[in-house]
């Protein structure tokens, strides 16, 4: 039995204009424990929707998602999530944010402090414990969000274009750090991005999705070790991009015809 099973999942809903819309359809995917898998695809291919269904934030219309054999019904601390725009609690300090899930779990104060500090140190924010998120740069805010998620010790990390709102340099650094964290913890990660190179750099497998409705077009093993050269990463990314390009063009054409 696979750790995370996504079985014939379909998500459809009725748009504001009263038209039926199929976001994703016929998604079959099994993810092993400790695997780093990315979902890439053009905007509107339903990759985020799929991630939100794994998180239990939105229900599947059809099919089932199981974690460790148990069907996902609602969100839970076993599946941590990081959003593109950080979604930190702006009224809480860095420490307050990282401690939030620990408070909810009923961890005693002293232990909570210590645990939060460990994760704050881990993401390199020592000295910023008492700062409010509004005082931090985007990269720092996303580190807080990652620390907040990791502090709850989820078994699956769901990352919804987590570096999409960061500048190119910060993004590169964050990618390297995330990869190091993953090697350190070996947690299962489902990572949504539209950056093919990012997906190749981070993941063991990349799921390429097509649009309207969102389906799995291909699943590509990157086969890259931690020491993969830049040239090799670029080569893999180019291959993936060739696969994705038609989808992106098609998605843009569909967008235009709708407008």
């Amino acid at each position: 039995m696979a750790f995370l099973e996504i079985q014939d999942v379909r998500k459809s809903y009725v748009t504001g204009q009263g038209e039926p819309f199929i976001a994703v359809d016929g998604i079959d995917l099994t993810i092993e424990q400790g695997e780093f898998i990315s979902l890439v695809g053009p905007s509107g291919c339903g990759k985020s929707t799929l991630l939100h269904m794994i998180g239990g934030f939105v229900p599947c219309t059809e099919g089932a998602i199981r974690v460790d054999g148990v069907a996902v019904q609602q969100p839970g601390p076993d599946r941590g999530i990081v959003f593109q725009h950080f979604a930190l609690f702006p009224w809480k300090t860095v420490r307050g944010n990282v401690e939030y899930g620990l408070v909810e779990r009923g961890m005693p104060r002293a232990e909570r402090r210590q645990t939060a500090q460990r994760f704050i140190d881990m993401v390199g924010l020592s000295g910023f414990e008492d700062s409010f998120p509004s005082r931090l740069s985007g990269g720092m805010q996303q580190r807080v969000a990652i620390a907040r998620m990791l502090a709850c010790e989820p078994s699956i990390l769901l990352m919804d274009e987590p570096f999409g709102a960061l500048d190119a340099q910060t993004r590169k650094i964050m990618q390297e750090e995330l990869r190091a964290l993953w090697h350190q913890f070996g947690k299962t990660v489902v990572f949504v991005t539209h950056d093919v190179r990012e997906a190749v750099f981070l993941s063991q497998r990349v799921v390429v999705m097509s649009t309207r409705p969102g389906r799995i077009k291909a699943i590509v093993e990157t086969g890259l070790g931690p020491g993969a050269s830049r040239a090799l990463i670029d080569e893999k990314a180019d291959k993936l991009w060739d696969m994705l390009r038609d989808e992106v063009v098609r998605a843009m054409a569909a967008e235009r015809s709708k407008a």
Binding site: H52, G55, P77, I81, F83, H85, W91, Y100, F132, R148
Partner: protein, 251 residues
Amino acid sequence: MVRLASRLHFYIPVLLAFTLWEAASQAGLIDESVFPSLSSVLVGFVRLLTNNNLLMHAGISIFRQMSGFLLAAGIGIAAGILMATSGWARFAIEPIIRLTYPLPKSALIPLFILWLGIGDASKIGAIFLGALLPVVLSTYNSARGVNVALVWSAWSLGTPRWQVPWKVVLPAAMPEIVSGLRISLALSFTLLVSAEFLISQEGLGYLISQLGENGDYPGMFAAVLAVTVIGVAADRSFLALGNRVLRWTEQ
């Protein structure tokens, strides 16, 4: 030192206006019988303190205003959050709020007196109603716009759904709630004085109308001054409190 200087700076135009007022009175440019000079108003103020129990009237007025305002704040915030998070509450409350919004609440003061008598209750009721709607609407509007990712984050960090309204929605909506409260605070003084004008045995509004009827204009001006000072102090205190609560919004 710089802060003190900038504060003084803020009050310079006020001092200037006061000086002009006194100078114009002394020069006989304004009719003392309908517009008493600043100095006679200040003399009147001291007289109110010693002879007319100004502090007692002020205390009663502050009690009424605070009761009505705090009641409006508590119930208004709760109603606004409820409307934003529950379809049923929105269905039940929103039309009533929208339709009664344009109604001048002072028009209801006679009804409150009819129902609640001429004592504190009718004043507090009128202030409560007048101050309520801005709080409900500002709370509702900002709570409705709370980023869904914040709610989802809380869920995934273990917050039960039923606790999200006060653990996430309320603090996230706080900046706009505070501005709504500030409007309500100003309205609460308007309602206070109007209600006390109409019928009352005590309070600053009562004092103003009594002194006016008796032709004691310096005294009346002094009572108006007292209301103004209390209103300004309340607003300034609220502003300081709001800045403290909203420390996290500073860039």
